[in-house]
């Protein structure tokens, strides 16, 4: 084996590795060692590994480009976590690191044949091919999808991990802890406000960390100052991913005491954006060869990780970063083969090599052998957070980068490289001024502008005389943009979409400006008029886990639910509520109600307490029927329609006192009804005096139903239950099982003699258990929602939302008798007036009987005329344990709704069945003898 290109050098003054703490890890199964503080990539390079990945489309070998989070060539899989940023993530003991997107191995990737056919894989290749024959496309597509880049998704199984969230309200949040950002935080803290300083890297300092002795000294001073303020919270390995409306700021904290990422949501007074600058790659042939990297990448490797990135270097420099790199490489023992000063107008032609850099071809054609090529050709301002605040950056042709416009709101400020240039001192001075102003704005001061930083001239360099890679993560070349323009995709948006440039994992941070520059040239425009760089959130990728946080979805249960579970109840998930569907045999439960007595937990029923002199007005407005003459001690059933006449909810309301009513709603409709009541009162009738109090969970509710219900309840209450004293649709209050202040009303959803009792919730279980124990001889047993559904269907009572849908108006639901068109006003009145005038020429809810009594047509089975003309559907169906035959409700068109009409049902399996429309919706006891007994 030849001597490795890269290797560890002796101790550097700014290094972040701890040479006393070695770390073991594996790379594609091969054991390697590193030091604590090493990134995956610095460790690999220190071990002589240069090829980190294979590229997306052409499977070209790739090595370090920027040595930072955005490095497009350094995504790896760590254990089962795909797409880990290897140039950022610090190694942990035992990490199992693997290359991705290479098969069978990183060295020999068979898909690299794509390189040979690359000339045919131009932009829009897919759109132009596999068109015919059409039937082959699905198979082509299966093959294509195997070429998806990235790692493998973690295998299924297990929960969703432990992710937390945090809320915070800093007065000033500084995004980016370079010299300007740190200075801003310090100065804001000095003003006494609460400051959060967020840094994407593992240490604060930005470019000072690898900027030489003077920079390190400045950083040490800044650090000390930061540490002296307890009102600065410093977050490292954390990044501000978004600025949303009204300074709602998202910060993702990548490492900490928890194993995964954490999302911090901050409502920020003033956001200070100080992300520095990102070094821009240079486009030329061979620019993606391992060994070609940015000046900042070389310096990071050298200064932070003491890794020498090569042995013999060519440097293309247009700025001080490149110049410094020359010095630093030289002192690290790298042979400097050639320095090309791009400021003088010279450039290089191409990088040569197969799988790694071998030589650099100069403009004049000379070939300089080298294993390292450093470019320092310019900067990109990561204006993402400013874009999100409404900014539209403007290209400055002199400084050759974008600068923020005037569109930034006062709650957002910027400092550092993103707004100008300067010495370390000048950057710090600007940061301090911005920090002081940010604190002032956060505490309500009128904004005053901060004098800007100066801008230094920089040559506008984007590409050399050859074509090369523009977007490394998408494998887009500069000539692809030219080709797109020639085909007519000649605006920034169309060219981007057609070539997919900027769509990859580095989010355009390295690519967008070069792409725009090349587009501008191809279309003969200048960069300014070609467009601007607008990044969509998030600024940095954020894990689903961090966004999700802990699974949190509240559950509502009645005080009796634990009892139900203990007694074998099968749970029914009904919106937020969990309730018993049945206890094993719903049919038997239903029958027991018909023959003896059953009790059901109906706590989820919405319950709203209404008090005040104008309750009746409100009831008249929300219900379709009349409430003027409801006596104290009576209850009444009512239907509510929305303004379009569509049935919205139903339930009974009781009059407990002169100005005191208790309303019940369906359990799923409770929240809507509550809001609707408030809406009418607050927006249309603020003069009415009604107090609305939801009491759903304050009371446990039990329905006692069956011929023995009077006897059962009578054993526990002081209320006179005799038919004369307590008739059908009456309400009484009294004590039950020793619990005072219970409300009892006599109603009959099931069609049986029944009492619904509402008791203070804390006594719900006591009353429930007492009912069961004192009624054993009466045959009492609990029944669940399914038995109730059977019973109500036998009785022909509809369920809103099941027997009605989002367009069903009252008359179509057979609720006409409950609509009092003579009232002055109620919700939906005009629509119902018009529907009534149709005299039945609209769909109707009917009860039907199948010709075959044993056939229960599944709900949703369609009713048809002829082959497939739909005229209705089954809305509810069951086998009736009482009648021992199939029963159903159906929605059917007007003509077919008359009793005796014969209907054709299409069953889900396609077969057909016959049914007849019944006279009456009730299958049992249409006269209500049981109910009124």
């Amino acid at each position: 084996m030849s001597k490795p290109v890269s290797s560890r050098i002796n101790s550097q003054s700014g290094e972040v590795i701890d040479r006393t703490k070695p770390i073991n890890f594996t790379w594609n199964g091969q054991p390697l060692t590193a030091y604590e503080g090493d990134t995956i990539v610095s460790a690999l390079m220190a071990s002589g590994v240069q090829v980190i990945s294979r590229s997306f489309k052409y499977h070209r070998p790739r090595g370090v480009l920027s040595a930072s989070y955005v490095d497009p060539n350094c995504s790896v899989t760590v254990s089962d976590e795909p797409n880990v940023r290897g140039a950022h993530r610090r190694l942990r003991e035992g990490d199992d690191v693997r290359a991705q997107n290479a098969w069978p191995s990183l060295k020999l990737d068979v898909r690299a044949v794509n390189q040979l056919v690359g000339r045919f894989l131009g932009p829009g290749f897919y759109y132009k091919t596999f068109i015919k024959p059409q039937f082959l496309w699905p198979s082509y597509q299966k093959v294509l999808s195997r070429f998806a880049p990235g790692g493998s998704p973690p295998a299924p199984g297990g929960g969703h991990g432990n992710f937390d969230k945090r809320y915070t309200h800093p007065d000033v949040l500084v995004a980016g802890a370079g010299p300007a950002g740190i200075a801003a935080a310090i100065e804001a803290a000095r003003a006494g406000v609460k400051v959060m300083l967020v840094e994407e890297e593992y240490e604060i300092g930005g470019h000072l960390r690898y900027g030489g002795p003077e920079a390190l000294a400045a950083l040490a001073a800044l650090r000390a100052e930061v540490n002296s303020y307890h009102n600065i919270e410093v977050l490292t390995d954390s990044v501000v991913t978004g600025r949303y409306d009204d300074n709602w700021v998202a910060v993702v904290q990548r490492s900490g005491v928890w194993s995964h990422e954490r999302l911090i949501k901050a409502r920020v007074g003033t956001l200070v954006v100080a992300p520095g600058l990102i070094e821009r790659p240079y486009v030329f042939a061979g620019n993606d060869l391992p060994g070609v990297m940015l000046s900042t990448a070389a310096m990071r490797l050298l200064e932070l990780h003491a890794v020498r990135p090569g042995t013999r270097a060519v440097i293309l420099t247009a700025n001080t970063s490149g110049d410094e790199a020359v010095e630093r490489l030289r002192s690290a023992g790298v042979e400097i083969a050639l320095v090309i000063d791009a400021r003088t107008g010279v450039t290089l032609r191409r990088a040569i090599g197969r799988g790694r850099l071998k030589a650099v071809e100069c403009a004049d054609g000379t070939k300089i052998p080298a294993d390292l090529l450093i470019t320092a050709t310019g900067w990109t301002a990561p204006t993402s957070l400013l874009n999100m605040a409404g900014d539209r950056p403007i290209w400055d042709p002199v400084a050759a980068r974008f600068f923020p416009s005037e569109l930034i709101p006062p709650s957002v400020m910027a400092t550092g490289g993103i707004v100008g240039d300067g010495t370390i001192d000048q950057l710090i001075k600007h940061g301090r001024a911005v920090g002081a102003e940010a604190a002032a704005r956060a505490t309500g001061a009128t904004p005053t502008p901060v004098p800007p930083l100066t801008r230094e001239a920089h040559p506008a360099l984007f590409h050399g005389p050859t074509t090369g890679f523009l977007d490394f993560s998408e494998d887009v070349k500069s000539k692809d943009i030219m080709a797109a323009v020639k085909e007519g995709y000649d605006s920034a948006e169309l060219a981007k979409r057609f070539t997919t440039s900027g769509m990859g994992t580095s989010q355009g941070k390295l690519e967008n400006v070069n792409a725009m520059a090349i587009l501008a040239e191809a279309t003969g425009r200048d960069l300014e008029s070609t467009g601007t760089t607008i990044w969509r959130p998030p600024y940095a990728p954020i894990s689903l886990g961090a966004l999700a946080g802990r699974a949190f979805d509240p559950v509502r249960i009645s005080p009796m639910q634990p009892w139900h579970v203990e007694h074998g109840a099968v749970p029914l998930i009904a919106g937020q509520w969990i309730r018993p569907e049945h206890y094993g045999d719903p049919s038997a439960e239903a029958q027991n109600v018909r023959t003896h007595v059953g009790i059901i937990d109906v706590t989820p029923l919405g319950k709203i307490d209404l008090q005040g002199p104008d309750v009746v007005k409100l009831l008249n407005l929300v219900y379709t029927n009349n409430w003027d003459n409801l006596q104290i001690g009576s209850v009444r059933y009512g239907v509510m329609c929305a303004e379009d006449g569509v049935v919205m909810d139903d339930g009974v309301t009781a009059r407990l006192g002169t100005n005191h009513y208790l309303m019940t709603t369906t359990s799923s409709g409770a929240a809507t009804v509550w809001e609707t009541l408030e809406m009418w009162l607050q927006t249309s009738h603020p003069d009415w005096s009604v107090n609305v109090t939801p009491v759903t969970t304050a009371m446990a509710s039990i329905n006692i139903a069956g011929p023995n219900s009077r006897e059962l309840l009578g054993r526990l209450t002081d209320i006179d239950l005799s038919p004369e004293a307590f008739g059908y649709m009456k309400v009484r209050t009294g004590s039950i099982a020793g619990v005072p202040d219970c409300v009892v009303w006599r109603i009959g959803f099931t069609g049986e003699l029944s009492y619904e009792i509402h008791v203070p919730a804390s006594f719900g279980l006591h009353v429930w258990e007492t009912l069961l124990s004192v009624g054993a001889d009466l045959g009492v047993s609990p029944f669940g929602v399914e038995a109730q559904r059977i019973l109500r269907l036998e009785k022909g009572h509809l369920i809103v939302g099941q027997d009605t849908d989002g367009l069903t108006k009252a008359y179509e639901a057979g609720l006409g008798p409950l609509v009092k068109l003579g009232k002055d006003d109620f919700s939906g009145l005009p629509e119902l007036r018009w529907q009534e005038s149709l005299a039945g020429a609209h769909s109707q809810l009917v009860a039907i009987e199948t010709t075959d009594p044993q056939l229960v047509p599944p709900e949703a089975s369609q009713l048809v005329v002829g082959m497939a003309e739909i005229v209705g559907r089954i809305t509810s169906s069951r086998m009736s344990p009482t009648l021992k035959r199939s029963i159903a409700l159906a929605r059917v068109s007007g003509e077919l709704s008359v009793p005796g009409s014969r209907l054709t049902i299409v069953l889900p399996n396609g077969s057909r069945a016959e049914a007849v429309v019944r006279e009456n919706l009730s299958f049992i006891d249409p006269e209500g003898v049981r109910l009124h007994g």
Partner: protein, 440 residues
Amino acid sequence: MSHAESVASIKEPGGAQARRRRSRGPARYSALDIFRRGVTNSDWPRSFRQHDLAKSYDVVIIGAGVHGLACAYYLAANHGITNVAVLDKSYMGGGGSGRNTAIIRSNYLTPEGVRFYDRSVVLYQNLAADLNYNVMFSQRGHLTLAHTDASLRTMNWRAEVNKLQGINSSVIDAAEVGRIVKYLDVSDRPRYPILGALYHPPGGIIRHDAVNWGYARAADHLGVQIHQQTEVLGIETAGGKVTGVRTNRGAISAPIVVNCTAGWATTISDMVDVKMPLITHPLQAAVTEPVKVFLPTVIVSGSLHVYVSQTDRGELVFGASVDPYPSYSMRGSLEFTESVASHILELIPSIGSLKVLRQWAGLCDMTPDYSPIMGVTPVDGFLVDVGWGTYGFKAGPVSGEAMAALIATGRVPEIISAFDLARFADGRLVGEKGAASVGH
């Protein structure tokens, strides 16, 4: 500098030769051609030409989204009406048509809806060949999960209506769902366990840009003019009839103006005082970084307000229901990604480490019944093809075909007759909310 000036500097392939090539049709895309150009390194010809704005057109279509472009294409292809301008204030596909999540399906709830969207699926199936442009239609199957009794009931209803219309659609149980998508948690551990799903095998996803560009290229070839960066500022009428439009590039006269501006439809209709029951809500979407393909179908969960599919490039594409308040702002929100992520992890718990790379929003013109508004208006010559809400991409082909037929014949085609503007005043709503509020 205006767009018109800037494009003037782009070199068109030389005069006569180019004209000849154009008259023969756009360059046919074929394997052979790709090979030839690869070898000779020659360029593809322009797919869309640039034009000066003419003084008048037979038809002006506002909005170069899939609806406007398809309408223009079918006008030219099916009816020989080619003196047509498609105007867009932005770039083609810059509205919903370039921002959607590209779900195509026909498993709607009403017979009118099912018939309509099914015609679109048929057109999509043949679109690549029709346009000689691979639109990458992937009929990978579409699963709408049910987590509650109520949603299972709606699924059953949809399945039965679908079957009667000859649509492949059925309700399957949780175990079957788990067999189709291994990564879904079909146990009863989640807060809202999966009870079953509506399975629609012909449903799937498509490459939205390709559809837009394919229509644009084919329409351009047939003589239609597409004018990007051309904003309509007003509509001229005389005696209750449309006479033309005013744009930032000058005035155009035209007897027929079609509103295909989706989220902006109100702003256009307001120009002629045609009141429509539309409300514009943002709809957001997000993608993750790519991982190897593991999700075979489109998955929608109405109860959890989320849907997901995986592109051939390996990205997961997420969406949800519209933002909770109306707005024309297309800035995404953090709430959206938070809620999508938490719901996705309920469905697919193992992918917590996958990262969201990008989020964006588009505008949706919501109607009260979740069905579109198509056809004539009280202003003669002013036609609408709007109300596309969160579900209109899939309807591009059938809408274009039907609107073109309406323009060419003056008669409203049967297939869109239920979607007329007058239905709201007449109380004839076509209720699709149960089939369209999340699973666009």
